[in-house]
């Protein structure tokens, strides 16, 4: 059996890549995908710890995260579609109305 730390370390790397995706990319859809990647990395950590503690709660949590992710994707993509209709673009840098 591999140490659970390996899985957690991998999860950290994937999470960071996801975070970088949010920070670097301007395409709203890719940013969105990066968020999904981050969720997945977190899920991986959950499952790894569930294994370590021999508790099902971690897996149940992953189940809920998947559900929430599905809901989030539905609403998020709807938002992107709505924004695209208004701005004809999904470049997040063009959505800077909050600029002070």
């Amino acid at each position: 059996m591999l140490p659970v730390s390996y899985y957690v370390g991998l999860s950290a790397i994937l999470f960071t890549i996801g975070a970088l995706g949010v920070l670097i990319r301007r395409n709203a859809i890719i940013i969105f995908m990066s968020i999904e990647l981050m969720l997945n990395a977190a899920n991986l950590a959950f499952v790894a710890f569930a294994r370590a503690h021999e508790s099902l709660s971690g897996q149940i949590f992953v189940f809920f995260v998947i559900t929430v992710a599905a809901a989030e994707v539905a609403v998020g993509l709807a938002l992107i579609v709505a924004i695209f209709r208004n701005k004809q673009s999904i470049d997040v840098d063009q959505m800077s109305n909050l600029k002070g």
């Binding site: 730390s5 950290a12 890549i17 990319r25 301007r26 859809i29 999904e36 991986l44 021999e54 993509l77």
Partner: protein, 170 residues
């Protein structure tokens, strides 16, 4: 070098590579495909960790349904590509440096500060099987489970309202 370790390293490389591919590919469609690959490798990790049901759900819901939705929207909008002119000059280098910093920090914690977590024991029979998941879900987590249904309903309604074509004369 156990076979398990070899499998892990192999899959881990695929996983990180696909993630990076998603990150750097110009075309959003390619990104989506890379992400699907990533999700599948992660599903395999789940299997290795004794989460059979979760692994299947991962493939079915994430790699299947959600990513199809992504692809669908990408195609619908026709917005696969964006120019690569970064508006914020220092954003990218700073982000990469910080990202590396974060990885180093976490790995440092994992391998130098925390005790290594090793699950040596074998898992009990049926751990992570659909039956055990179902039992837990409908006994301990019944209320959150039901609330999830409302969440999905709200998300559905929200998605419909957001994408509805508004009347122009309003």
């Amino acid at each position: 070098m156990t076979p398990e370790l070899i499998t892990f390293i192999f899959l881990a490389l695929i996983s990180v590579a696909s993630a990076l591919g998603m990150l750097f590919s110009r075309n959003a469609v390619y990104s989506a495909v890379y992400l699907i690959i990533n999700f599948i490798t992660v599903a395999v990790f789940y299997l290795m960790l004794g989460g059979a049901f979760i692994a299947v759900s991962q493939v079915a819901v994430y790699a299947g349904a959600i990513m199809v939705l992504f692809l669908f929207v990408i195609m619908l909008l026709g917005a696969e590509k964006l120019g690569n002119n970064e508006t914020l000059g220092w954003q990218r280098p700073l982000a990469i440096i910080l990202g590396l910093g974060l990885i180093v920090e976490i790995l440092y914690i994992l391998f130098f500060q925390a005790n290594e977590i090793i699950a040596v024991k074998d898992l009990p029979e049926g751990f992570g099987s659909p039956a055990s998941i179902g039992t837990t879900l409908f006994q301990e987590y019944l209320l959150p489970f039901e609330v999830t249904s409302i969440l999905l309903l709200v998300a559905m309604v929200g998605a419909i309202i957001l994408t509805r074509q508004e009347k122009k004369n309003v």
